[in-house]
Amino acid sequence: MFILEFLLILFLVSIFAGVFGSIVGLGGGIVIVPVLTLFLGVDIHFAIGASIVAIIGTSSGAASTYVKDKVTNLRVGMFLELASTSGAIMGAALAAYANSAILELIFGGILLITLVPTLMKVGEDIPKSPELKGLSKRLALKGSYPEKDGSVIEYNTTRPVAGLAGTWAAGILSGLLGIGGGAFKVLSMDLAMKLPMKVSTTTSNFMIGVTAAASAGIYFERGDVNPIIVAPVAIGILIGAAIGARLLLRSRNPTVRVIFVIVLAITAVEMVLSSLGIAV
């Protein structure tokens, strides 16, 4: 393939990945990896190196808007980062001993199961706010965010330990495979901690950059961060994330959830198939 065509396709795909990745809080790696390996014939090592950069780009690019506009819950994000970073180290340590195909199958299977409760919440606008008690109260895991009509939605959170456990799984997955952690982060906040959907996806978006950065060192050291592949990905993803962030702020919670459910279903099926050795 001609090099300019290659770069242009990659650039356009990255814009698309940035738009969706920043809305659902997963970072766009799930788009970049299959496009690079299947359509553009790039080795999986380079694809994962590019995916790590794509996740960091989506995260930082969109979070600059989400944080300024106070949709992201900074305290929840930083509290859960305890679990995602330690999980990432654990995943990297496990890589030598664990059968990554089996783990991918397990994680993919869990995602498929979570589709049920997530689908049942389709249509929910603002979750019924739980009483703030215990650890959530001690760590002030509550917040408020502005809706586009100007109203300010106040919310509490619950079950912080379940949230940590789910985020820890997200970290292990990232450390092990370099991809796929974002879905577990959104689900931890949505299903366990009962945050409003937009707060869950934007707080996940805030955290995934740190989890990806935790794994970035090894990919860089190995030479998997290829400058020719990463340049169009980084620029495209940053443009996409800027667009996606503006779209999310104008969207309602139920819309964001529907987009998330679709992406979650694709991610789960992609992981299960990939663990069975079927390239997607």
């Binding site: 090099i3 300019l4 290659f6 790039v42 080795d43 090592h45 380079f46 950069v53 960091i56 780009g57 995260s59 930082s60 690019g61 979070a63 600059s64 808007t65 944080v67 300024k68 106070k70 900074l74 305290r75 930083m78 509290f79 980062e81 305890l82 970073t85 330690s86 990432a88 180290i89 990297a92 340590a93 890589a95 030598a96 001690r138 760590l139 450390g175 950059g209 740190v210 990806a212 950065a213 935790a214 794994s215 970035a216 060192g217 090894i218 860089f220 050291e221 190995r222 030479g223 998997d224 961060v225 290829n226 400058p227 020719i228 592949i229 990463v230 340049a231 980084a234 620029i235 940053l238």
Partner: protein
Amino acid sequence: MNLKDPDSMNKVIGMVLRYGVLISASVIVLGVVILALSGNYSDVASLLTYNPNIPHGNFDVSFAGIIKGLAAFNPLSIIEVGVILLIATPVSRVLISVLLFDAEGDRQYVLITGVVLTLLLFSMLVTPYIPGFHA
């Protein structure tokens, strides 16, 4: 800026992320422009092939290699520096959070973000050199 103002944390962290992204994107674009002006596309195409036999891949991404490349005005090294700045953006965001929580006098979150920063730096900079990790 008054750091005791509860909104200052959002403002400062938003700013760190925005400038991190803008600076790294500018450096990457600079590298791409220099590369395009050099018109040397045949070498570029060869870089797309993965070669596990070369220690640092087809392109030398070791720190020494990048510094050597920068001295020679190599556009690929300039792109790599932009990528390093992009990777450093979330790290500096965590670092700034520790300082902001300290300014707020919130000791619980100074501890939480401090532990996150330590784990992050350990994972990024130390684990790649521990035998058995990332195998």
